[in-house]
Symmetry: C2
Amino acid sequence: MTEKTPALRRDAEHNRQRTLAAAREVFAARGLQATLNDVAHHAGLGVGTVYRRFPNKEALAEAVYTGKLDDIRAAAQAALAGQDAYVALRAFLELALEQAAADRGLRELMRQGTSDNEQIARARQGIMESCGRLIARAQKQGTMRDDITVGDIAPIVSMIDSVMDLPPAGAVRPWRRYLALILDGLRTRPDHGGRRPS
Amino acid sequence: MTEKTPALRRDAEHNRQRTLAAAREVFAARGLQATLNDVAHHAGLGVGTVYRRFPNKEALAEAVYTGKLDDIRAAAQAALAGQDAYVALRAFLELALEQAAADRGLRELMRQGTSDNEQIARARQGIMESCGRLIARAQKQGTMRDDITVGDIAPIVSMIDSVMDLPPAGAVRPWRRYLALILDGLRTRPDHGGRRPS
DNA sequence: CCAAAGTGGATATCGCTTATCCGCTTATGT
DNA sequence: ACATAAGCGGATAAGCGATATCCACTTTGG
């Protein structure tokens, strides 16, 4: 909308990129609680330089993550194209959580329901909307329990998230096992015909 | 072992109890990060009084929680008496997590795998031992998937824990739903005969 | 070549917790 | 009742770690 970038000096722009790159790495590795000092040092810059471009950590985080979150939202929307809604939802969640697994900062951003930035809130909203549709369709297709709702997505993500730092056992990252366990639990069982067990 | 309590003045003992009671309440409500100042104020005492009896927060937390944790360990051991090991394990986990649901401090204590106090570590060890046996027996009885191990208990607890603060929807606390979902997932399915699905 | 833009990083500020200190109060036993 | 050891309160010292600023110096680009 209001595009008013007063043109940055060449070196300044370069340092801006270095800052963003460093922030991506540092936030991914140590989470959003990493200090801007950390980020600056990692970028080989002084703190002042970073603060010159980004008023504070939140702004930097926003710059780093809006893109990523939009990608995920796009993936969720793309999932709507699949014909088996349960399979599509499952694939989407696996993909999204794979992203999260590689980026601590992203996880922290997803977690907090309130506060946040408006852009990010909207991305999350979009994701949830798509998930909601997938759930509804899967239920219509008879592959998902009737008592599941969109409200279950966030808790499921939260649960997997809480287990994401477990050290890989052999070739498998433990969280994948648990995700599979839970997603299996969302299916209708042949013997219960759409109703939940017990 | 070294029992050397040099007899406390009557009022002092009284205040000690008040401190413990206040700590139980405050830790349960706000978690272990509550300050000793909070606890003292909640007990209607000065900070100094609390520090006179307990060298620091950790000591107070230990005094508050060793009992509770031992109860849970006892429950785990008692569960070994049940004849259906899967049912017994399930009942135990429901009970233990019910405790945790009512006590934020207890949850935080359970969570951290390392550090801690020796007593507490031992309690956790005992609990895990019993769970291990229950799992082994359930598998022998053919009611639990063969690929489950004791190592899965902590992650499961962690997952439920991460979801415990969700506001009750109607009469059910959401975490109970998710716990049921996961525990169902641990069962052998009639159609898979002890092997895990897909 | 010189203004404007950019840079670095020491440091002021802040918010928060933990823990101490010490003058005053209270319990207890003789 | 009185002496005295034990206990009490709570202001505040000390520590900590993060955020954000400031300004003397360097670099860019017309």
